[in-house]
Amino acid sequence: MNLELTDEQSFLREAAREALSRVKTVAAAREALEDPAGLPDLWPTACEAGWAGLLVSEENGGAGLSAFDAMLVMTEAGRVLAGIELLGHLPASALLDAAGDERTGAVAEGDLRACFVAAQPPGDLDVHWTVEPPSGSVRVQAPVLAADGTVSGSVAWVPDAPGADVYVVVATSAADGAPVAVAVDAAKATVHSATRYDATRSLGHVSLAAAPGTVLAGIGAAELTRAWFLAQALLAAESLGAVETALSVSIAYAKERFTFGRAIGSYQAVKHSLVEVLRLRENTYALLLYAGWAYEDRPDEFALAASAARSSGGHALDYASRAMISVHGGIGATWEHDAPLFFRRAQLAQRLLGGVGGATDRVAGELLNAA
């Protein structure tokens, strides 16, 4: 057993940190709230670093790295609130690779940016593949693949949908209800940009009206379930990075800010709150290790592991971003400080891709089903 990072993983992480440090991403996150067009395009950075092909096998032109390696990169992106379209791209690239799709090489290079139009797999209480509704709490059924090979349906709040070149859409077959993945070119899909609250998070509503596409060969329920939970784990990893920044910034302030003649970090109320952030951080990291291991070696446990990581990461970022505001006092609730940007990140991330609540429910469902 060795859960330490390998030399290659440490290098990947350091390289990611270095590459992202060249852009003032946190400042950009604030400016983009007023001028979304000013958000830097980090896709070239991702391509140059090889992240676009991170999960594509070497024979198809990718780096052939592991899901945990992808989580390390996502953590670095989350640490500096970098808006890179990896949450949409990485699961889609893995599906295209597994199917041997002809676009895989270009996707691995990043010349084509892919976007995963995900559907949540059935659970112990729901037999349907469902997607986000445009509003409200009732999930809607995934798009449908007709007998003529076209796809129809709508999926709301799809991460990284605006501007993608190819959409990997989870649909169910009109014939037998079986889930399939359909690659649809951007020209055949209608995408409305739907960015909310966190300017760094690209979101779109995807509509497909008898859109022609390619059914990905050999991709069925198992692969699509894996892809959904991979997205859950990547989102958890991204949250972990934001938690780590929130914690270190809060600690630094708690050491230098004095009230009543003492550094505020010496007060138990402040100290215990920051230790709670650490506790949630440690839990999330441990669960990401579980998810990374299960993705490769324990496929039956991956849904449980990734859902647990997502639930933990979501709670951790919610708590950490609120603690960051509290520790900084009044200033933490203003645009003078970065804390609101982390709070905005937390608020929106919790509601994406089935939500943190949905992931928590899935943990219960997986355990109840196995009991």
């Binding site: 859960l3 330490e4 933990s312």
Partner: protein, 404 residues
């Protein structure tokens, strides 16, 4: 990153499993009706495990151990749980006190005490905590006074002492010099539990069971060679024990029995509850925490294997376990109703046990202080006891109480 057994570990696990399969029918049950007979059977079973190399796995070979690493220790623990047989009786002795004697004891102490400890012939107890010294362990007041002939006279009280009523020996932290600051005037002793002047009383907990004891010492004589690690070095010696305590708890967390699957199984039988969104949310949240503890344990193990010593943040795993287990007991009681609180119910026992566990090994509040200061580097609480001789400190405390 690799969580799987190496080929050597696969072989080791297979050997352990084979031995347990062959001998499991000789094992006593986990609990017994007649306590004395049960303890006797558990001691004998510990002897069998020790002879088979399944106790003291990490102890040096020359002291009767196997000289193996923490991974092998955990493999043995996992296989024992899997076989459904009890582990060794004297976890505190073999896991914490033996390693302290190995680190600090004299050659005579090692050859006299370690063998009988390992084989269950002599059970040990840990005599550290007192009614007024728990999280602040260095505040112990039990007093040992040096006599002209080199022996010591011990008076005072210890509490929370597991197994004291059938232990042969105890490892005891006492104050031997009250005129120096509190961490400096401490000495560690080996105490024969049948000594004259020792009174042991069961301490009933919320459940009504007495799993711990209070132990009273009234002018008990200790020989000069009872000192472990040198006079005045008691705090350093105690820190060794506390480090092994963290390891024993950390690496044994899976066998504490607070597993997500256990709570899920209790709820799965209720068709209505298993579909209730609120029940599922609560079950999901506590399960996330318990799964995190499981993999935090693997992280600790991996760090140990790389030669690193887990720091105080490992204590967060205990905080998480207790929090989640309390939430689990609460949830099961909500679903099952008052039947969960039947005195015979495993849930009643769990619900009763956890409030005390929250403070075991140091309260959660003080643990959070320690982690905040040592791990996060936050400024310390103002301390009023630094550099002050213990006797003066006590006088100040009494004056403080009198002034209120």
């Amino acid at each position: 990153m690799d969580l799987n057994d190496t080929p050597e570990q696969v072989q080791y696990r297979a050997r352990v499993r084979a031995w347990l399969l062959e001998h499991k029918h000789e094992a006593p049950p986990e609990q017994g009706e007649d306590e004395a007979a049960h303890i006797q059977a558990r001691r004998a079973w510990q002897g069998r495990l020790a002879a088979a190399g399944l106790a003291g796995v990490t102890w040096p070979v020359e002291l009767g151990g196997q000289g193996l690493g923490p991974i092998e220790h955990v493999i043995v623990g996992q296989e024992i749980v899997r076989a459904g047989v009890p582990n060794i009786l004297d976890v505190i002795g073999v896991g914490m006190l033996g390693p302290t004697i190995i680190a600090h004891g004299s050659d005579e102490q090692k050859s006299r005490y370690l063998g009988p400890m390992l084989h269950g012939d002599e059970v040990w107890c840990q005599l550290f905590s007192e009614p007024a010294a728990g999280s602040d362990l260095a505040a112990v007041q039990a007093r040992a006074v040096l006599q002209d002939d080199g022996s010591w006279r011990l008076s005072g009280q210890k509490v929370w002492t597991t197994n004291a009523h059938f232990a042969a020996h105890g490892l005891l932290l006492a104050r031997t010099d009250a005129d120096v600051p509190k961490h400096k005037g401490l000495t560690m002793f080996i105490v024969p539990m049948d000594g004259e002047g020792i009174t042991i009383r069961g301490l009933r907990q919320i459940s009504g069971e007495a799993e711990f004891n209070e132990v009273f010492f009234d002018d008990v004589r200790l020989d000069a060679d009872a000192v472990v690690g040198g006079v005045g070095n008691g705090w350093g010696t105690a820190l060794t024990t506390l480090m092994f305590e963290r390891l024993t708890i950390g690496l044994g967390s899976e066998s504490l029995g607070y597993k997500a699957e256990r709570y899920a199984a209790a709820i799965a039988t209720d068709e209505h509850a298993r579909m209730d969104p609120e029940v599922r949310r609560r079950l999901g949240e506590l399960s996330v925490e318990l799964l995190a503890v499981k993999f935090t344990g693997y992280r600790m193990l991996s760090a140990l294997q790389q030669g690193q010593i887990p720091g105080p943040e490992a204590g967060l795993a205990k905080v998480t376990t207790v929090r989640a287990a309390i939430a689990g007991g609460d949830l099961v009681a909500d679903v099952l109703g008052p039947d969960a609180l039947d005195e015979q119910s495993e849930w009643a026992y769990m619900i009763s046990f956890l409030p005390g566990l929250k403070s075991a090994g140091g309260t959660e509040e003080i643990l959070r202080n320690t982690i905040g200061e040592r791990v996060l580097g936050l400024p310390p609480e103002p301390r009023l006891d630094k550099g002050i001789p213990f006797s003066e400190l006590r006088a100040k405390e009494r004056a403080g109480v009198a002034a209120t």
